[in-house]
């Protein structure tokens, strides 16, 4: 149905997973994370967006580590990122417990007292 070159391209360029695939995945995650942060009004929703961006960075680090350098640097960074994300989530939840106790909601748009 298609010329042979197309199948070659499909096999080598698309179906054989390489660095590019990981980079595209991480770019998608990064964009979705940012989209999530911009559109969500629920504090937990925004937090999920932050985690998506952090995961995009982790994927980049591990992919570069596998395809570019071969060392363990990238894997170690990914471990640190997981730790950091956990710590950040803990603080976010503490902050929004406080927020909830004061405002009875975690809708971030409800906090609009600060202005001129």
């Amino acid at each position: 149905m298609f010329p042979d070159e197309f199948y070659d391209f499909l096999l080598d360029g698309v179906l054989t997973i390489g660095l590019t695939h990981y980079l595209i995945l991480s770019v998608l995650l990064f964009s979705l994370g940012i989209l999530c942060m911009v559109t969500k009004r629920n504090a937990i929703g925004i937090l999920i967006g932050v985690e998506l961006v952090l995961n995009a960075a982790s994927i980049n680090f591990v992919a570069f580590s596998k395809y570019q350098t071969g060392g363990l640097d990238g894997h170690i960074v990914a471990l640190f990122i997981i730790l950091l994300a956990a710590a950040e989530a803990a603080i976010a939840i503490a902050i929004f417990m406080n927020f909830y106790n004061t405002l009875r909601t975690i809708d971030v748009d409800r906090g609009d007292e600060l202005r001129l």
Binding site: G33, L54, E88, I95
Partner: protein, 531 residues
């Protein structure tokens, strides 16, 4: 020669270890709810400062993954000295049961600043930057029942987390381009590979640098991540705001200097190399930051918000010098890095002094006592409290860049360095325009600083405003005002050290090329393994 017979990593990071262990100690002692907790915190910072001086005197062994240059020494000296002032200003902020948490968070944040300067590895740099920011998220909301403080905390946290994640994404591209996480060193390091564009070419380096600088723009409150500043500064307690104007900014500028010297400033200061992408990004950032900060400040009635926008503008002035780069020679008049390091120290003290003076004037509102905020609150303050008014005036004049204050010299250095460091390069014309724009901006800025002074000196005293009785606050306000004046009359004390620090920023280039260490830098630049 070492001070303690221990592992070299303990010796070379001794001040940071003292701060972190001290922080844990203060946190535990906080359970006892004693008044002398702030004294213990003071002693911890002072001990760290003394240790840093001793380390400087005797030198420390070089440890891989850590730098040991004069920029680190400068960060320790300035960070811990201003840290002492910040502690004095903040002494009365936490409530009875939350003193331990508050002071330990302050110590952790200061340790973060020092570690940013000490990091010679992407992972460590990132974790250190987070260690600076994360405690400040909590400090804004701690001991505040106010809804506005909750809102400020939420906004600061989310923008901060977003900026950090973006910076990390940028780091991942730098890692991909260089194939290592080590920043500087003669072996495989980002510094040696990024100059040639890295393994994957210029594009990856530029994506990485732009994302990284975007994340750092949040830390220094530059456009496009400036939107949180006014809300956060207004929502936080005035003394905490004074801290926010220095600690994250100082760490941010040190990190920017480190990141830009990774590529020998070539992406940043050369308008022709690598298509000049980063030069123009930084150029536009600096111009926009100055303009946005100053114009928005003109409309404010709330002094805290006004100073918040002025803090954005000041970041813009400092970015101008960074676009010019370190240039040649150590003099602050010719070297952008020296000028920035001088400016950030003076700015930190002026800003802290201004917010401390606001915190000194107490007004009783609906939800309890709080510091004075609006122009009406500080009306006639100088008549009723002449000394506090004078200190506020000195700090505000310093922020304005008035002669006889350190702020004046800071502005001279920044603009002069921007002109002379870029002389003869392709971007010189653009830099002249930027400097003219900056000078015009500082003229606009005078308008709103004058409103603060006019309200403070010329209007009838406001009703219901009292003075704080905290002795530490009075002492710190006096210290801030004296330092702002002293940096004008004896600027050498500060700029000798900042020029020394920027020599190492330049030295990396020449050392790499000559492959030999000159006598002047051998003792200080230890990120490089012995050759």
């Amino acid at each position: 020669m070492t001070i303690f017979a221990t592992h070299p990593i303990v010796t070379s990071l001794a001040p940071e270890f003292i701060l972190v262990l001290g922080g844990v100690l203060v946190l535990l002692l906080g359970l006892a709810r004693r008044q002398w907790l702030s004294l213990v915190t003071f002693a911890v910072i002072a001990l760290a400062l003394i240790t840093a001086c001793r380390l400087r005197q005797y030198g420390a062994e070089s440890v891989p993954q850590l730098t040991n240059d004069s920029l680190l020494w400068y960060a320790r000296l300035v960070g811990l000295s201003v840290g002492l002032l910040i502690l004095l200003v903040n002494r009365h902020v936490p409530e009875e049961g939350e003193r331990g948490e508050f002071f330990s968070l302050l110590l952790f944040s200061l340790a973060g600043v020092l570690l940013v300067a000490a990091a010679n590895n992407l992972i460590l740099l990132f974790l250190a930057l987070e260690l600076v920011s994360v405690p400040t998220y909590i400090m804004i909301g701690l001991s505040r029942r106010d809804i506005r403080a909750q809102e400020a905390t939420g906004k600061y946290f989310f923008l901060g987390a977003f900026a950090a994640a973006m910076m990390l994404y940028g780091f991942s591209f730098l890692y991909g381009a260089a194939g290592t996480t080590v920043l500087f060193g003669s072996g495989e390091s980002l510094h040696t590979t990024l100059k040639q564009g890295g393994a994957l070419g210029d594009t990856f380096v530029i994506i990485g640098l732009v994302l990284t600088l975007g994340g750092l723009a949040f830390k220094v409150a530059a456009v496009p991540f400036h939107s949180y500043v006014a809300d956060v500064y207004q929502g936080a307690a005035s003394p905490v705001t004074g801290m926010l104007g220095f600690v994250p900014k100082f760490a941010g500028f040190i990190a920017i200097i480190r990141v830009l010297s990774l590529c020998d400033w070539s992406y940043a200061t050369d308008a022709t190399a690598h298509n000049g992408a980063l030069f123009w990004v930084l150029w536009v950032l600096a111009a926009a930051t100055m303009l946005v900060g100053n114009t928005l400040a003109l409309w404010q009635q709330n002094v805290k918000r006004m100073l918040a926008y002025s803090s954005i503008a000041h970041s813009g002035y400092m970015l101008v010098a960074l676009v010019a780069g370190p240039g040649s020679g150590p003099s602050p008049l010719r070297n952008g890095a020296t000028a920035v390091l001088f400016y950030i120290a003076v700015y930190g003290v002026m800003n802290l002094g201004a917010f401390a003076s606001l915190a000194y004037l107490r007004k009783t509102g609906e939800d309890g006592e709080d510091s004075a905020e609006t122009l009406d609150d500080i009306a006639g303050a100088a008549r009723r409290y002449p000394w506090a008014g004078l200190a506020l005036a000195i700090c505000v004049l310093g922020l304005m860049g008035f002669p006889l204050t350190g702020g004046f010299l800071g502005k001279i250095y920044v603009f002069s360095a921007a002109l002379s460091a870029s002389a003869g390069t392709a971007g010189h014309q653009a830099m002249i325009i930027l400097v003219v724009f900056g000078v015009l901006n500082s003229a606009i800025a005078a308008a709103y600083y004058m409103r603060i002074l006019a309200s403070c000196y010329l209007r009838k005293p406001a009703e219901g405003v009292t003075a704080s009785r905290c002795p530490a606050l009075r002492l710190s306000i006096a210290c801030c005002a004296i330092i702002v004046l002293a940096t004008f009359f004896r600027p050498g004390l500060l700029f000798d050290r900042s020029s020394e620090a920027s020599v190492d920023v330049q030295a990396r280039t020449s050392m790499q090329e000559n492959n030999q260490s000159s006598a002047s830098t051998a003792t200080t630049f230890a990120g490089l393994p012995p050759q």
